[in-house]
């Protein structure tokens, strides 16, 4: 494991000759990618703790499980498609095909907006059904988890909007390729988070 090798370096005794100093491999995207990884770490910690809270709260006596709306399956499919579209946009960007980038990138954003509208529709359905009050723990948790997930997707859409604008403006792909790469990672991550939330909702 390189981490153990790194941490066991005897820095006081390591060779000091200039020839043995390796130049650091610094590319422009490396910092942004590292930053995104840590940001995903922060989000994972937050979502994980919400799940723990959900699990602990549902074990208490007043918990009545939600009836899972069927629309959630449809929403899930849309989110998966948006993630696939984002991946295709990234592949196209790597290959330098601007027309495909425009197509897939626009589709990814459109599908994401569709997912968000779908989630809001689910909220409305649950509230209209009258089975639960907004203050009841299962519904409040559902809205909180889906709301925060949606909020983070909305944040992603702001970054996406900048890329899609540049793509349609006809800028060189090189100038926003990195943003598409980062967006793709972020979209895949939020899809996984949704899978976990959805599984948690179905299991309870």
């Amino acid at each position: 494991m390189s981490i153990f090798k790194t941490l066991s370096e005897k820095s006081w005794a390591t060779p000091r000759s200039v020839s043995e100093i390796n130049p650091r491999d610094i590319s422009e995207g490396l910092a942004a990618k590292t930053g995104l990884k840590f940001f995903i770490g922060v989000l994972s910690s937050m979502f994980f703790l919400f799940c723990v809270g959900y699990k602990m709260r549902m074990e208490l006596s007043d918990w009545v499980p939600l009836q899972d709306p069927n629309l959630l399956w449809f929403n899930t499919a849309i989110l998966v498609l948006s993630s696939i579209a984002m991946q295709l946009a990234k592949n196209a960007a790597m290959a330098g095909k601007i027309k495909k980038v425009r197509l897939y990138l626009t589709a990814a954003g459109g599908l994401t907006i569709g997912f968000l509208i779908g989630q809001i529709t689910v909220w409305q359905e649950l509230l209209d059904a009258g089975l639960y009050q907004l203050s009841s723990a299962p519904l409040a948790f559902f809205i909180l988890l889906t709301g925060l997930h949606g909020l983070h997707l909305t944040g992603g859409l702001f970054v996406w909007a900048r890329s899609v604008y540049k793509a349609w403006l006809g800028m060189e792909i090189e100038r926003f390729k990195l943003t598409i790469e980062l967006c793709t990672t972020y979209w895949h991550y939020l899809m996984l988070v949704w899978f976990v939330f959805f599984a948690l909702l179905l299991a309870t």
Binding site: V18, F38, V42, S45, G53, L134, S135, A140
Partner: protein
Amino acid sequence: MAYVAIADRDHEEHLHDPQTFITKYIWSQDHKVIAIQYSLIAIFVGVVALVLSGMMRLQLAFPDSFDFIVPADYYQFITMHGMIMVIYLLTALFLGGFGNYLIPLMVGSRDMVFPFMNMLSVWVYLLSVIILLASFFVTGGPTGAGWTLYPPQAILEGTPGATNSGTSWGILLMLVSLAVFIVAFTMGGLNYVTTVLQARCNGMTLMRMPLSVWGIFIATILGLLAFPALLVSAIMMALDSLIGTSFFMPAILEAGEQTEYGGGSPVLFQHLFWFFGHPEVYIVALPAFGLVSDILACHARKNIFGYRQMVWAIVAIGGLSFIVWAHHMYVSGMNPYFGFFFATTTLIIAVPTAIKVYNWILTLYQGNIHLRVPMLFCIGFIFTFIHGGLTGLFLGNVVVDLPLSDTYFVVGHFHMVMGVSPVLVVFAAIYHWYPKISGKMYNETLGKWHFWLTFLGTYSIYLPMHYLGILGLPRRYYSYGDTAFIPDSAQSMNVGITYAALIVAVVQILFFINMFWSTFKGKKSEPNPWGATTLEWQTEKHPPEHGNWGDSLPVVYRWAYDYSVPGEDRDFIPQNEPAAGHAEGFDPENPHDGPHHA
């Protein structure tokens, strides 16, 4: 976004030196200016918290003497004092202040990797402070729920600032302020870790980094993973308070009437809070550990003892800090096996911590110790930290904790270990790096007076509290009245503690006078007055300018602790000095074409 951090001057287009007063000092993206902005805000709000503690001490020493301190005020002072000191002062100062100033300079980069986000971080932090302080001016005042904000009392009538009591806003402003602070911290934190990992100069391997950077780096990772727990609990409590959800609120009577709440778990809040709260101790402590290590080595003219152990200990403490949280909750009741588990992990964390203490002492052993002001503060820290650490071993055990938990023993313990100790390091670090930051020397005599009065004064405050605690004096009480088991001597001791506290508070004026006076009238400092090895002392300009390194980035050839190397003329060798026989240095463009190969 310009990647200023890792650009050479050749890439002029990547640099954006600020030109106007506004971009230089207000909306600055320079990590050094941001560090000073962070520090000034943190110190300002820290002084507010200091004044609050003075008011509490006045009340405790002279109950029934001050009309302007009623019980509600007292609890508001406690709450705001605790929260400000832990989060808005210490976390912000160590990471936002020292982290910002030292990381790029110590790892040899021009700036943080995301300078714009770094600038946003400090302004969002200021916003969080404004929101927090605004609670002093709203109806009902700030929350008086205690810094742990435990439900159900935090939001029920009777607690100052609770939402349910009419139009009070205290608790909501506290929760919003915390959420905003966490956003600010995340923006800064992503910068610190990414800069450490991706913007180190050539030759700066991870294990050549000064321990200050290691401490700040690991503390930031802790913060990034732990603060979400506080955010989660703040969001859920705000919803309990605002729309009547019952995440944390159980079925409960309020003023004799059944509330709308039911089924929630206050203990769930405690778990979430302390999952943040315990790592928070190390978010404050680890940077302090790192800074102390560097300052001790420099002023003892000796390499740090056991560098690798020190790094491993920082990493180990960071990891362990996530599995000890429930030792704060013994009195809440828990399965005895859980209690046993958390007591065991708590005692285990003492091992890497003790390694660090031994190594500091062994660094001093036979060193060429210069008792300058930073060194005095560091040695003071070793005393207070050992003291606070040892009393922590008492409290880590369930059976000892239960009778002591609600007494002044705990107040003495945690103030010693995470109040006085980090603050002594803050002073040590400010005095140590003051010449680099300001280009001036501080007044040594005034600094020594500041140290001795602060060190002896704080000992006079917190040492007696342990005795009060063992006597059974409960904490969190506004006044004790005629309580049978509390002897008169306890009250006398309280009066003594208050005198000491007020003296310590007033003595801090010496520090401010010294800093302020020296900035304008102080003697000009040498670029490297302490003969330090680390990169920040080797900058082309003193104090360093925007971009830090002139035309080209430094190259590192050695670790940060080459002090008193046998056979060398000087008693220190800077990190960027090539080994003998390689004086021509390193050409990053032709890494394998150096003199060694020529």
